[in-house]
Amino acid sequence: MAAKIEMKNVTLKFGKFEALKDISLALEVGKIHGLIGRNGAGKTSLLSLLAAFREPTTGQIEIDGEPVFENPEKMQQISFIYEKDYADEYEKIPALLEFPERYRPNYDKDYANHLLKRFKLPLDKPAHKLSKGMQSALNVVIGLASRTPVTIFDEAYLGMDAPARQIFYEEILADQAEYPRTFILSTHLVSEMDYLFDKVVIIDQGNLLLNEEYETLSAQGASITGAADQVDDFVAGMKVLNEQRLGGTKSVMVYGTLTEQNQLAAREQGLEIGPVPLQDLFIHLTEEAH
């Protein structure tokens, strides 16, 4: 049910401003992709192109080898969920859900009802009276229950409180296990969502910085924890991303893969080696690019 997405040399210009610069990117079938980038990096522009909300200035966007724009089969396979303005929406949730139910071939009503219950969404209130977090949860319900082969959530969690976000993450993973799709989650909450990602796509100032397996990426750095002075000695000469200290213990994030020799030496000194949080890598990589 999942679909393969490919962007070929995609450039998007607004007048003279280049929002996306010659991006070539393949997204893998049935994987959850984290799309991260700083404010104004071009995340939403990129996603609106995938969803055929607009056309690129140059380049191609294809799903399973066919262009997306104005292609009825392909457009039907994509859901683009973003923060919507419900200020003028006087319909109640059941009426609003009739729409995806009619137009999305894989829409699952039972699943939608299950999600409505989990998010505790009131069915008797008009949408404009729902809180921001509830409106976001409603968007999430539509996005998940539509079960489209390509499902895009553009910061869909905005306004949702921590427990609601947790439900969102749990449901993505649970439903992905049963009905694999190609997910794209764009986010600022990197540290909270990184465990969801199979793949990570980072864009910065309209450029594609990287598109890698989460595992590969997290191996591009390491955290070294142990006695403060030992850690300092060990990381001398390495690119330090971040450090934290608690009493005599220190934890330092470094960028770059540790050699086997390094790892052995660390173990001998009783230092603990762990992965680097994606958040720190993200901050480092996007700072470096500037």
Partner: protein, 239 residues
């Protein structure tokens, strides 16, 4: 693989939605007509038959529906994976159906009024002159009413799309284009009274001949259909 065609479904849904608005609209209009009768009967005057009475309001109703169509449906449907082409076809078909409905409803109400006036005196004057009066012949009046309603919808849609696509400054240009289109429409359909309803429509005293009227208004409809398609063909959806 067979090409997926979603526009009939879109057309049905759009018609259903807008027909609900039309029911509200006619409820108010019928109420206004009845109240009007009570008022004029005290002055020993009369109101127009419902068909003629509703013609201007129906036109404005269609204009407003067209404006709303640009903002209300575009983002909504494309987000659900409907192509601009299917949405365009669906909108045009639904507008045709809506124009037919808003023509038939007044016709029916008019018939009922006529039936009632058979055994009760209603203060309805039947001697009015104009495109929408029975004096021009029922068939001609009905066809004119229908084309007029459809044209108003397309003009409204064009205004809405102009604002949606180009923002409010260039949107004004579309209001200008709409005024020109409305004037032409009034000219072709011999509806010279339009200028008294919409102040910015110039008064055109000439009544077009029937051949010119039909050709002219069909050309106008064709031009409107082509321009709305061109404007929506590759339109960027607002988020």
């Amino acid at each position: 693989m067979k090409q997926l065609k979603l526009y009939p479904k879109v057309a049905f849904d759009l018609f259903y939605e807008q027909f609900k608005w039309a029911i509200w609209f006619f409820s108010f209009l019928i109420a206004a007509h009845i109240i009007g009768m009570f008022i004029v009967v005290r002055n020993d005057a009369s109101v127009d038959p419902f068909f003629a009475f509703s013609s201007y309001s129906v036109a404005i109703f269609m204009l407003v529906c067209g404006i709303i169509a640009a903002y209300g449906f575009l983002g909504y449907y494309v987000q659900q994976g409907i192509t601009r082409k299917d949405l365009y076809m669906g909108t045009v078909l639904s507008a045709l159906a809506l124009a037919a409905a808003v023509t038939l409803v007044p016709l029916a109400v008019n018939g009922i009024e006529h039936f009632i006036s058979g055994f009760a005196a209603l203060p309805i004057g039947t001697d009015g002159v104009g495109a929408f009066y029975p004096s021009s012949g029922w068939l001609s009046a009905t066809v004119t009413f229908f084309i007029n309603a459809f044209t108003y919808y397309l003009i409204g849609w064009l205004i809405g799309l102009g604002y949606y696509r180009f923002g409010w400054i260039i949107g004004f240009v579309f209001v200008g284009i709409a005024v020109a289109a409305l004037s032409l429409n009034g000219y072709f359909l011999g509806d010279s009274g339009l200028s008294s309803i919409i102040p910015w429509v110039p008064y055109i005293p000439a009544e077009a001949g029937p051949a010119l009227a039909i050709t002219g208004s069909l050309i106008l409809v064709a031009v409107l259909l082509i321009s709305t398609r061109l404007m929506t063909k590759r339109i960027t959806i607002k988020m």
